[in-house]
């Protein structure tokens, strides 16, 4: 929502921080000032870039009063707190609607607000296991593997956005607000509807089978030259297979009658995979992928996270952005994955520090005067950004301008060198170089 210009206000508790605030970047010493530590997870740029943060304890009467005024000024209310917490904090749909009758309210709980799992606590990885996603990944002769990233979290956020936008459409036409419920369990199940249809039709559960795909071959990840380098190949049908003869060195394979149809390729799949692997092994991942693409076959190198930084395609589409950040000066933010031709994303800032915008929000959204604002902060109801004189540098972002040719603010210091020196000295805390705070050139490259 923030990507496309909405003013998204993140209401954050300091007493009960969320998971990304409760954690910290691995390079920050555990005993470092916790109020600064909580601003350090780079993952926050993934989840909260462009949002404004207000530090607010809504479980006090004064805090709730401020919160209610924020609700009254909002179009949309988003929560994924668990179902049993919502009434306790007086943020159930009924409570919020009483404040703002035409609110679009979306609650993204893990399992919905009824049923035996309603109070279950989960991370995305738990949902991907319970919903059957994990069970389909792994080698057939071994246990299934864990996806390792929280797919259901992210796909639910995408679906939630669809729900909000659809409800806003209806509100524009009818004036009606809306209560949207999105149990993430149900979203994860929706993602594997084909597997559920399969079970319904023939009572077999799709199981883990490496990178193979029933009805498509070759379909896999094959070794290429170099250490731990791989190329993914997926031949969709017999027509794409015959195109493979255009790749030098594969003519013989394609000419082999046993492999002409998908039935034959599946029957002789072990040999097929070995021969494809022999071909890919003689090439780099990029050479193999480019030759295959030239021949009309879907293929690509398996990129690791560092490859992404130098990826020419992502760079050409301005996928990575450097945006201003109060805690870090500037931050690397993943791009808009939703690209609109005429109204492109207009993200202005990286993720906020906790409470970074508390004063601004109370002033420009609620129209409070400064003494009132100071009073709320003094009483601990509202938190401003802690130690806003302290600016940190990520110890690795000095790569950015070298690897990606993105503009990077410089003021005569090398964050990596500073960081290493500090490590050498084994100083207990990272004293940030706040004196050298840099004027940031706002905006994307």
């Amino acid at each position: 929502m923030a990507e496309f210009g909405a003013d998204v206000i993140r209401v954050e508790s300091r007493r009960r921080p969320d998971s990304l605030r409760a954690s910290a970047a691995g390079w920050v010493p555990p005993d470092y000032d916790p109020e600064i530590r909580q601003d350090t997870m780079a993952a926050q740029n993934f989840a909260s870039a462009g949002k404004r943060s207000i530090g607010l304890e809504i479980d006090s009467p004064d805090g709730y009063a401020v919160f209610a005024k924020l609700v009254a000024a909002s179009d949309v209310f988003i929560t994924n707190l668990s179902a049993d917490v919502l009434p306790r904090l007086k943020i159930s749909y009924e409570a919020i609607r009483a404040i703002k009758p035409d609110i679009i309210y979306i609650s993204m709980t893990a399992f919905g607000d009824s049923g035996p799992y309603r109070s279950y606590r989960t991370w995305g990885q738990n949902l991907s296991a319970i919903s059957g996603i994990d069970r389909m990944i792994g080698w057939p002769d071994r246990d299934p593997v864990q996806v390792g990233f929280a797919y259901p979290d992210y796909v639910s956020a995408q679906a939630g956005t669809v729900g909000i936008l659809a409800a806003l459409e209806r509100r524009d036409q009818t004036g009606q607000g809306c209560h949207i419920e999105l149990p993430q369990y149900h979203m994860a199940l929706a993602c594997i509807t084909p597997a559920i249809v399969e079970f319904g039709l023939r009572a077999t559960s799709p199981t883990h089978n490496g990178n193979r795909h029933v009805g498509r071959a070759p379909h896999g990840v094959y070794p290429s030259r170099g250490e731990d380098r791989w190329v993914a190949i997926s031949v969709r049908d017999d027509e794409m297979w015959s195109g493979l003869s255009g790749a030098e060195g594969l003519e013989g394979l394609v000419a082999d009658d046993r492999f002409r149809t998908i039935a034959g390729r599946e029957l002789h799949q072990t040999e097929l995979d070995e021969r494809v692997a022999a071909w890919t092994s003689a090439r780099t991942d990029w050479e193999a992928a480019a030759e295959l693409q030239q021949a009309g076959v879907a293929a690509a190198p398996v990129l690791d996270c560092w490859d992404l930084l130098g990826d020419a395609q992502l760079a050409a589409r301005d996928f990575f952005r450097v945006l201003p950040s109060a805690r870090f000066g500037a931050e690397l933010v993943f791009g808009p994955a939703v690209v609109l031709s005429d109204t492109p994303s207009a993200l202005k800032r990286a993720a906020p520090a906790l409470g970074e915008h508390s004063r601004d929000i109370l002033r420009d959204v609620l129209d409070l005067d400064w003494p009132e604002i100071d009073g709320l902060i003094a009483s601990g109801t509202v938190h401003a950004m802690a130690r806003d004189d302290v600016r940190l540098e990520r110890p690795y972002l000095h790569w950015i301008d070298k690897v990606m040719r993105l503009p990077w603010p410089k003021a005569g210091f090398d964050p990596a060198r500073l960081f290493m020196e500090r490590l050498d000295e084994e100083t207990a805390s990272l004293n940030a170089v706040s004196e050298t705070a840099v004027p940031i050139e706002a905006g994307s490259p």
Binding site: S23, G132, Q158, V221
Partner: protein, 403 residues
């Protein structure tokens, strides 16, 4: 929610199928345009043999609720028919590679001349600009270029991609978001625009843990560790009858688990301060911690362990198969399933649409037979005569792949 919105789904690749399905669930009129012998979605494997022939599970899952019309884009009449449809719709969904529709005179620039309010939503493997804009892709290729795979699988073998079309799913979700944003912009400007979704970027947008900054931050280098992560406890742990997942991410979740292990197994050192804090803090002790955790999980069945863990505030769930899901007590108790009209296949069990509005679950429509809505769309709505239908819409061809 979206009644009154008309969507033309040009079929093609799998990376956009769910967008049309979701719009249909939300009440939009979604017309699936297929060639006279059936669209490629009807042939996406796995194909399951049924009494009415081979059926694509992908097609059944993704076409439910859409209306099917047939026209041949290879013929001038078919192209003219498509243009007439475009005049009347709000959205076109396309997975055609860059250049293909343009070559037929049906690119976005052509279509916006016919209908300036049109939102044209494109999903391609790498997006419509950049050096790889013409590269072919697939769900597997989408995962390959996401940066995520080097940490999925076992160390001694090739990286693994998640199965089941999840890269396609997330591309379709981003396409849905972009389409709805464009419709809202149109409300203000009166003009449509192009939504350009790159599958690579879509998968990146659901792979935070593969981003370089995240990896640097957590110190959890990308490596394939099979069923668990390097930041314990995180992953699958064996029980008496299968596996459970445990993710003790916050300090208090770890504390609860450590106390449970200590009480029940007598391994008291697990509660030492040394191991407290975040998963990254525990990374140096991953082997010991995983062994301690498993000494606890092995005392339970997967469902019983998850229940007790949850009672203690520890995020844990069983690792389910599709068959397990059909037995899941929560889905039974909460209306997690819905029955849809599978056409010749009879009634089919589907997961309930995940978005519920004002307590109402959307209804999933029927799975359309090939060309089932030709008459309704071409004759009743476009005003064509029966004869007009003849050249571009031939009678049903010999055995189509599905119904």
């Amino acid at each position: 929610m979206l009644s009154g919105v008309r969507v033309l789904d040009l079929g093609g690749g799998e990376a956009l199928s769910y967008a049309g399905r979701m719009f249909a669930d939300l009440g939009a009129d979604v017309i699936l345009v297929e060639p006279p012998d059936g669209g490629p979605a009807r042939r996406v494997p796995p194909l399951v043999m049924t009494p009415v022939g081979e059926v694509s599970t992908h097609f059944v899952a993704m076409a439910a609720g859409k209306r099917s019309v047939t026209l041949a884009l290879s013929s001038p009449q078919g192209r003219e028919l498509l243009r007439r449809l475009v005049e009347r719709v709000d959205v076109v969904l396309s997975t055609e590679p860059v250049g293909r529709l343009e070559a037929l005179g049906l690119g976005y620039e052509d279509l916006r001349q016919i209908n300036p309010r049109l939102v044209f939503t494109s999903v391609t493997p790498f997006g419509r600009s950049g050096p790889r804009r013409r590269w072919l892709g697939s769900d597997l290729v989408g995962w390959a270029v996401s940066g995520a795979l080097p940490s999925v699988g076992d160390a001694d073998r090739a990286p693994l991609a998640p199965a089941g079309g999840l890269a396609d799913m997330t591309s379709a979700m981003n396409a849905s978001v972009g389409t709805l944003v464009a419709l809202r912009v149109r409300r203000r400007t009166g003009m449509g625009q192009m939504v350009d979704i790159s599958q690579q970027e879509a998968v990146l947008s659901v792979s935070m843990e593969a981003s370089p900054a995240y990896v640097m931050d957590t110190g959890a280098w990308q490596e394939r560790r099979g069923k668990r992560r390097a930041t314990p406890p995180m992953g699958h742990y064996a029980t008496k009858d299968g596996a459970v997942t445990i993710v003790a991410f916050t300090p208090w979740q770890w504390d609860a688990l450590a106390e449970w292990i200590s009480d029940e197994t007598g391994i008291t050192e697990v509660t030492l301060d040394l191991f407290k804090g975040t998963p990254a803090d525990r990374a140096p002790y991953v082997e010991a911690i995983d062994a301690w955790v498993e000494s606890l999980t092995m005392r339970y069945s997967k469902q019983a362990f998850a229940e007790e863990a949850q009672r203690r505030g520890i995020p844990s769930t069983p690792v389910n198969s599709a068959a397990d899901l059909f037995e899941d007590p929560h889905l039974r108790a909460t209306g997690g399933w819905t029955e849809i009209d599978g056409g010749a296949l009879g009634p089919l069990r589907f997961p309930v649409p995940p978005l519920r509005f004002d307590g109402q679950t959307s209804t999933v429509g029927a799975v359309p037979a090939l060309g089932a809505h030709n008459r309704a769309v071409f004759v009743d709505e476009l005003g064509l005569t029966e004869e007009d239908l003849q050249p571009p819409v031939p009678p049903p061809p010999p055995p189509p792949p599905f119904m």
